[in-house]
Symmetry: C2
Subunit: 253 residues, 2 copies
């Protein structure tokens, strides 16, 4: 009898950002498949389970192992950090099932995605329409990524950048955004959100590159839109662009 695959979002760093459904699915699973670093994220939940880890670029190997284990009747947890759809294991696993005409029971368990978790540490920068863009050019051509950055800048989207560790591409992306937004536009840099060595930096489009050393594998960068401002050290993107909200009168009336 075929088993089941849970494709699980473990949330960012801190176990307190896990959901109850994620914990329940971990408990039900007897096999856990994870990139080595993400196995570490759930190490307190692995007792008595078969744990299969694989390195960074082995998404396909992880998807294959998960599907084969499910076909043998196991309940398999495939782990991503954050949310499993966002540059995680959901899509490779479903693609591999589809390409090989396999239809085992799959549940995608959503999680708190890195951009929202990181942004919460900055204040509330993602409070108007936003675009999520990965700067990794392993699977997507750099030109296509930069074209999307340009369209997001033109549309005045708040922009959340994943994988800014690709520094040459990051510099180009920030140059493109700077064509459309003023130098004072707030930029947030969150290194290792919800982990021991977390650092939260609020800077701007002119000065962000002073913090290049803060950019690692799990750094998220958030570039404000034309209305984002900084107050009490927090990045705030207003919900509305009209003057319909009068916060001073509303507070004092």
């Amino acid at each position: 009898m075929a088993g089941k695959i849970y494709i699980i979002g473990a949330g960012p760093g801190d176990p307190k950002n896990r959901t109850l459904r994620m914990l329940e699915a971990m408990k039900e699973s007897d096999v856990v498949v994870a990139y080595t670093t993400y196995a570490e994220l759930v190490k307190d939940l692995l007792d008595g389970k078969e744990v299969i880890t694989a390195r960074m670029k082995e998404e396909l190997l992880r998807a294959k192992v998960a599907i084969k284990k499910a076909l043998e009747g196991h309940t398999v947890a495939v782990i991503s950090s954050g949310d499993p759809q966002v540059y995680g294991m959901a899509s490779p696993t479903l693609e591999m099932m589809c390409a090989n005409n396999i239809n085992v029971d799959v549940e995608i368990i959503p999680g708190v995605t890195a951009a929202l978790a990181a942004a919460a540490k900055l204040g509330s920068p993602l409070s108007m329409d936003f675009a999520v863009i990965s700067l990794s050019d392993l699977l997507v051509p750099a030109d296509e990524i930069l074209y999307r950055v340009r369209k997001a800048a033109e549309g005045d989207f708040v922009i959340a950048l994943y994988n800014p560790i690709n520094k040459p591409l990051l510099i180009k992306a920030m140059e493109i955004i700077s064509e459309y937004r003023k130098a004072e536009t707030p930029v947030g840099i969150i290194k290792s959100a919800y982990r021991d060595n977390e650092e939260v930096i609020v800077t701007n489009l002119k000065e962000w590159n002073n913090f290049m050393d803060k950019i690692n594998m799990i750094t998220i960068m958030i570039v404000g839109n034309s209305k984002t401002y900084v107050c009490n050290g927090k990045m705030i993107t207003p919900r509305g662009y009209t003057s319909r909200y009068d916060y001073v009168n509303a507070f004092n009336s």
Copy 2:
């Protein structure tokens, strides 16, 4: 002594999508401020607390009450569904504090946002760069919303639409997207995700308007990018656009 404000993401519908940190913050709070419908979302967590509800358009009233209660020394939970940054209470609360020179302790507690939760029911449509756009023109001019829709379409972003209940604007938005994407582009409609009356529909850019009656206040719509396809009834957006991944050989080797 000043209290504290937790701006909490309650996740979508199902209590299993709550995070542990959200539950912890609810426990610590003695005052809960919520839009009436969202108070319902957390009704099992309200015992022994002062509960202050307000209607839909009263964000400012809710922010004001929360801040005043915190200034009196209370620990206040302000509830949004999904994530509190995404068209929720985070930004209005921080804006009101800023406008009135008030600096009480605030923690934004991220949650599973509606787009990711809804998309998980469809498969894995949000697995490449995506744009999140609200079609509510209460605070943002319709022309500006449609301009952003156009830029997201030009950039081949997967597009997650919040507040599609604004049907005239929704129809215009879908017309704009249809200028850039073929009629067969998959469209997902998720009504009441993780609630009793949940409905999950996979359709396309040509036929989505046959399902107009499924669109309510908490419907989320996801429009695929140029590479999104449907397999086994699931919407899948490939992670990469290159042919670097061979799912058949990888599975059989």
